[in-house]
C-alpha cells in the first residue's frame, strides 16, 4: 500500500498501548507535508513521545492491518528492513536525552551516518562535520565526548548529527526540556535557521509552546488518547472545546497576549 507521494510522513489509524488492554493512543491520523512545522503537545504521560517513536518506526502499532505509517509514500512496516533504512536516511530524530554515542567525540558522532552511508572522502566528511559544528554553535567542543558537555550542547550536537545527512523530515522529542532560558532561545533560533536554510519539515513533541509562539507552525493536541487536527495557536485559543483552550493555556511558554493580539 502506498500513500500520496507529497506527504513526507503519514500515519493512518494508529493505536498503541504498552500492555494488552491498555490504551495509550487510539486511531491517530497525521500527515506531514514538505517544509511543515508541526508541534504535538499535551499533558505529561499521555503518549506524546511514544507517538513520535511510532511515527519514526521505533515502536510498532498493535498490528491491525489498517494501521499504517508511511515515509515518502512507502509503508514502513511492509517494505524490507534495508528499504526502511534507506528511507530513514532522509529522516532525522533528536531524542530527549540526545542519545549521542557515548564512546565517541562530538565530531565522530556527527560523522557516524556519513561514514556509514556515503562514499564521501574523510576530508569531505570532516568539512561537513565542521559545517554543522559551526552552525550549531559547538565550536571548541568538537573533540569532547558527550558526557563532558552541558545538556544544551548535547541537544545541539544531537541536532547536528540528525542534520548531517540533510534529511527532509526531522523528528524532535522535547528539544527544549531541561534547558535554561538562554539555551531555549539559542535552540529556537537554530531551529528557525534550519527551517529557513535547509527547508526541513519538523515534527516536534513539546509541552513548551514557545516554538509555536515564535516560529509559527501548527499545533496538534493529544487529548483522550486521540490526536486533534493541527491548527494555529490562535485557532486553538478560539476553540469551542474549553478543554482545548485550557490545555493550551496550561502549557509552558504560552504567551496569550501575543497570540490573541
Amino acid at each position: 500500500m502506498t500513500a500520496p507521494q507529497e506527504w513526507l510522513c503519514e500515519a493512518r489509524g494508529l493505536s498503541f498501548g504498552w500492555k494488552a488492554g491498555d490504551i495509550l493512543l487510539e486511531d491517530i491520523n497525521l500527515t506531514v507535508a514538505p517544509g511543515a512545522f508541526l508541534i504535538i503537545t499535551g499533558e505529561s504521560g499521555r503518549g506524546k513521545s511514544t507517538l513520535l517513536r511510532l511515527l519514526a518506526g521505533l515502536e510498532r502499532p498493535w498490528g491491525d492491518p489498517l494501521e499504517k505509517v508511511f515515509f515518502f509514500g512507502e509503508d514502513i512496516w511492509e517494505v524490507r528492513p534495508e528499504r526502511l533504512r534507506q528511507l530513514r536516511r532522509q529522516t532525522g530524530f533528536v531524542f530527549q536525552n540526545s542519545a549521542l554515542l557515548s564512546n565517541m567525540t562530538i565530531t565522530q558522532n556527527i560523522a557516524v551516518p556519513l561514514r556509514y552511508h556515503t562514499t564521501l572522502s574523510d576530508r569531505e566528511i570532516a568539512d561537513r562535520c565542521r559545517f554543522w559544528i559551526d552552525r550549531l554553535l559547538l565550536t571548541g567542543h568538537e573533540d569532547k565526548r558527550p558526557a563532558l558537555l552541558s545538556l544544551g550542547m548535547q541537544r545541539r550536537a544531537a541536532v547536528a548529527r540528525a542534520m548531517a545527512m540533510e534529511p527532509r523530515l526531522l523528528f524532535m522529542d522535547e528539544p527544549l526540556s531541561g534547558l535554561d532560558a538562554r539555551n531555549v532561545e539559542t535552540m529556537l533560533s537554530l531551529i528557525a535557521n534550519l527551517r529557513a536554510l535547509q527547508d526541513v519539515a519538523i515534527v516536534m513533541v513539546s509541552h513548551d509552546l514557545q516554538p509555536a509562539n515564535l516560529l509559527g507552525g501548527l499545533v496538534s493536541l493529544l487529548l483522550d488518547h486521540h490526536l486533534r487536527p493541527p491548527r494555529t495557536l490562535t485557532d486553538l485559543l478560539r476553540s469551542e472545546d474549553p478543554r482545548e483552550r485550557d490545555l493550551i493555556r496550561s502549557q509552558a511558554g504560552f504567551k496569550e497576549s501575543r497570540n490573541e493580539s
Binding site: 517513536r53 519514526a56 518506526g57 521505533l58 528492513p81 534495508e82 526502511l84 533504512r85 534507506q86 528511507l87 530513514r88 536516511r89 529522516t91 532525522g92 530524530f93 531524542f95 536525552n97 542519545a99 549521542l100 554515542l101 557515548s102 564512546n103 557516524v112 551516518p113 561514514r115 556509514y116 552511508h117 556515503t118 562514499t119 548529527r161 540528525a162 545527512m165 523528528f171
Partner: protein, 281 residues
C-alpha cells in the same frame, strides 16, 4: 489426524526458535548475512569498530594471557614430569603438553579470559547503549545495529580469540620448557625434565596430529564467536531501565562460561571419542 505430526513438529520448531538457543542462533544468522547487505560491503565505520574490537579483545588482553600461559605451562610440565615417571612413562612429556595444553587448557583458559573480560564489557556496553536509546538512535539514522555493532564484535572476537589462543599455546610451551630447564638445574634427580629444547619440540611434534591442529584453530574461533554472540544478545535484549545492565552482564558471563564448557564437551566427543574408539582392539 495426518496433520498431527506436522503440528507437533511445528510446535517443536517454534519452541526451539523461541528458546535462548534459538534466539542466539537467529542473531548469528542475521549477523552472518548482514555483511553482504547495506550500503557498502565494508563500511569504514564497521571496519573501525572491528579494529577496536580486535585491539581490546586481543592486544590488550595479551599481557595477562601471556602471564597465565607461562604459569600454566610451567605447572603442567612440572606436574607431568613428577607424576609420569611413577607410571614409567616419562617419555610422554611432549604428548602430555600437546594433549593438555594445546588441546584443552589453552583454548579453555583463553575462552574463560575472553568471557570474563570482553564478554562482560560487550554486554554492558551494548546494554548501556540500549538503555540510553543509542541503539534506537542508530536505527533512526538508518544504521543496522547488528551490522554496525554485532558483526564487528563477532568477527573481532573470533579473530582475537584465535590469535590469543595461539599466543597462549606458544608461551605455555616455551614457559613450560623454561620452568622445566630451571627445575632440572636445581633438582638434577628429575630426569624427565632434562630434555634438550629440540628434543622437547620433536617429542611434541611427533605427538601432534591433524586433529590436534584442527582443534587448536577451530576451538578458539568457536569460543570467541560464541562469547561475542551471547554477550551481544544479552546487551541488545535489555529494556529501558539502567538496573538491567548489570543483570544482563551477569547473565551473559555465566551463559558464556556454561556454553564454553558444553562446546568443549562437544569437541571432545567429535575429536577424542573416535580416536579412543580406534584404539579398541
Amino acid at each position: 489426524m495426518s496433520q498431527l505430526p506436522a503440528r507437533i513438529l511445528e510446535r517443536i520448531g517454534e519452541a526451539v526458535a523461541d528458546s535462548l538457543f534459538g534466539r542466539i542462533a537467529k542473531l548469528w544468522l542475521r549477523t552472518s548475512t548482514c555483511m553482504f547487505k547495506g550500503p557498502h560491503a565494508t563500511s569504514r565505520q564497521v571496519w573501525d569498530i572491528l579494529v577496536q574490537q580486535v585491539h581490546f579483545t586481543g592486544v590488550e588482553a595479551a599481557p595477562i594471557a601471556m602471564g597465565l600461559a607461562l604459569l600454566l605451562g610451567g605447572v603442567t610440565i612440572v606436574e607431568a614430569a613428577t607424576v609420569m615417571p611413577r607410571f614409567g612413562s616419562g617419555d610422554y612429556l611432549g604428548a602430555v603438553m600437546v594433549l593438555v595444553v594445546l588441546r584443552e587448557l589453552s583454548p579453555l583458559f583463553v575462552a574463560f579470559l575472553i568471557a570474563g573480560r570482553s564478554g562482560s564489557a560487550l554486554a554492558s556496553f551494548l546494554g548501556t547503549m540500549k538503555v540510553g536509546q543509542e541503539i534506537d538512535a542508530l536505527e533512526t539514522m538508518g544504521i543496522d545495529p547488528v551490522r554496525f555493532l554485532v558483526f564487528p564484535a563477532l568477527l573481532g572476537c573470533t579473530i582475537a580469540t584465535l590469535c590469543l589462543s595461539l599466543l597462549f599455546s606458544t608461551v605455555a610451551i616455551l614457559g613450560g620448557y623454561l620452568v622445566a630447564a630451571l627445575l632440572a638445574s636445581v633438582f638434577p634427580q628429575f630426569l624427565a625434565l632434562q630434555l634438550p629444547f629440540f628434543v622437547f619440540l620433536e617429542k611434541m611434534a611427533s605427538a601432534l596430529t591433524a586433529a590436534d591442529l584442527a582443534i587448536l584453530v577451530l576451538k578458539p574461533m568457536v569460543f570467541g564467536a560464541l562469547v561475542a554472540l551471547i554477550a551481544c544478545y544479552h546487551g541488545l535484549s535489555l529494556g529501558i531501565s539502567p538496573h538491567e545492565v548489570p543483570q544482563g552482564t551477569r547473565r551473559a558471563v555465566v551463559q558464556c562460561l556454561v556454553a564454553i564448557v558444553v562446546i568443549d564437551g562437544i569437541f571432545a566427543a567429535l575429536f577424542v571419542v573416535p580416536q579412543l574408539a580406534s584404539m579398541v582392539p
